[in-house]
Amino acid sequence: MTEQTNEPMTEDQEQQPSADWGRKLARTRSERGLELETVAAELRLDLKLLQNIEREDQSVLPVPSFVKGYLRSYARYLDLDPTLIIAAYDQVADSAAPSIRPTRSAVSIQPATSRDSGPRTVTILLVTVLVVSFLVWWGGTLLTNGTSKDTDLDADLEQAVSGLALEPAPMIEQMQTPADAPVGNEETAPSELEPVVDEEVAVEMPADNLVLEFSADAWVEIIDAEGARVFFDLGKAGQRYQSEGKPPFKIVLGNAPAVTLYHNGERIDHARYNEKGVAKFTLGE
């Protein structure tokens, strides 16, 4: 469409003499004895435009899509096969003028928006954060015995997350909570009451200490001041359980005579609450 497009076209034609389109039309027209004016009037096309087509002068022709249309009409008018003419034109047109990249300049008013890249980036970021926090949490659970490592891990998590912290803040908090929660759980987990293996577990806890000894199977419910179930299970004969919680405790002993209860090391006599084998009372008020 510009001056320079003329050059490659002529080169092309020298290489491929068969690929002529305008000249072929001109030849056929003169063979039929038709005047160019007649064709122009019949096809409602400008005379100059047809002359340019017959001269194959691409520098003054409009965009290829229009030229192809003119060629199709012209070829049909001369009873030629339009596809051959257009194929010949395509060989030249494609190399000379790349098919329209039309609206770039006019259309590109908005900057590249986040409409396209936005969701993908966010997704990739979210997935990375998820994976990292999962790995950190998983590593954390494996290393709970090595207590000194805990703080390092937390720092690692902080670092890992802040490294990725292009996200809005609430998103990160959401991502962190599932990672933090299990770590916190590790410390409070013993309150679930396990058969005592190590006497020293959680000695430093400020809460009151409860010890249960069972001479026979008994159902025991102990609920502390915060409503947490300190013990809620069937105690097995001969076992000894230890637990902590905040006083006062609401206690139900299913088979009361079989249970010996120590509160901060002091034995509690619950015989007076005993009604038909079941003792219900509040401790530590």
Binding site: S65, V107, Q110
Partner: protein
């Protein structure tokens, strides 16, 4: 939302030409991957009011038109370029979107660009948008059909010069004058390929006392239909039900008869073009007179339609390359343009 965009990473961007007659889907980097009739066959079990299910979509469903038993209805969910049956359109889109995403592990969630007639109302556009969203699209963009057609036909729509495009679809004909990536004038008349078929059916009934079906009428149009008296007269043999005898009879039609039959819808299109030219600002009109108008859409394949318009308007008329797929291809190009940063050719409301 997060999962939608996650799934979107495994989906292709689609440009859909949701036409009355055919639906075309263009996938970025792959070209036209689907070209099927916009027809859905719905099966209704256990009589009226019973549960409905989709029996077939697309090509298969089109073969059923006019040949269905009582329990199956072949529906064309779009009428005049807009949605006539919301649920069925949604199901059809869903089917097509899945079809172009075969062999995928994830449920597709593509970005979708849909072409709408420029005469469609806000309500109709909204319906199309919701329907695509319901079919699983992540983002839905709408583009006006003439704009997509012009881009697909390779017209220089971004330049400060007038381009005129006439897109004759199945349900509507859109005529528009474009300049600087915008629509200067546009009009939509509800005449299209379907009206041609109807006109042929009516003509045959009136003149031969014979009833023919839609698919026969379409075949006649494709084989011998023309818009301008040609050099040679073509003939076709068709079969239809004779109204007086009540039995199928075969008879011969020629192209001049079909030309006569098509006069009414064709004059509707010609007058729409003339009105558009009247309304065009003179400078843009001069550009159009110099380069001519471009025909796209299935209707452009009607023999000698360009000739008719040339005679009627005195302007050069050219038929776009591969006119059937122009709109879908133009939509695909427009999707690329979104990524390149420009999107003011869209009406995304």
């Amino acid at each position: 939302m997060v999962f939608k965009s996650f799934r979107g990473m495994f989906s292709n961007d689609l440009s859909i030409d949701l036409g009355t007659a055919n639906t075309l889907i263009y996938v970025r980097g792959q070209g036209i991957v689907l070209n099927e009739p916009s027809v859905v066959a719905v099966r209704q079990d256990r009589g009226p009011g019973g549960p409905k299910s989709i029996a077939a979509v697309g090509m298969e469903a089109k073969r059923m038109i006019g040949r269905t038993p009582g329990s199956i209805v072949a529906i064309r969910p779009l009428k005049d370029g807009v949605i006539a049956d919301f649920t069925v359109t949604e199901k059809m889109l869903q089917h097509f979107i899945h079809k172009v995403h075969e062999n995928r592990f994830f449920r597709p969630s593509p970005r979708v660009l849909i072409c709408v007639p420029c005469g469609s109302t806000q309500v109709e556009r909204r319906a199309i948008k919701e329907s695509a969203a319901g079919a699983g699209a992540r983002d839905v963009y709408l583009i006006e059909e003439p704009m997509a057609a012009a881009i697909g036909a390779g017209m220089p729509v971004g330049e400060a010069s007038g381009s005129m495009v006439l897109d004759i679809g199945g349900g509507t004909t859109e005529v528009a004058i474009l300049s600087l990536s915008g629509i200067v004038y546009s009009a939509s008349v509800r005449i299209g390929g379907d009206r041609f078929d109807e006109a042929i059916i009516n003509y045959v009934r009136r003149n031969y006392g014979t009833l023919i079906g839609e698919s026969t009428a379409e075949r006649i149009k494709h084989e011998i239909g023309s818009a301008y008296p040609g050099k040679e007269v073509l003939e076709i043999e068709v079969k239809g039900r004779n109204l007086s005898e009540g039995v199928p009879r075969s008879f011969t039609l020629n192209s001049n008869e079909i030309l006569e039959a098509l006069q009414e819808p064709l004059s509707g299109i010609v007058s729409a073009v003339k009105i558009a030219l009247e309304q065009t600002p003179p400078d843009l009109g001069a550009d159009i007179a110099e380069r001519g108008m471009v025909l796209t859409g299935g209707g452009a394949l009607l023999r000698d339609l360009d000739r008719l318009l040339m005679e009627e308007t005195g302007l050069p008329v050219i038929v776009a390359e591969d006119p059937l797929t122009c709109v879908a291809r133009g939509g695909g190009r427009a999707l690329e343009m979104i990524d390149e940063g420009g999107s003011d050719v869209f009406s995304v409301e």
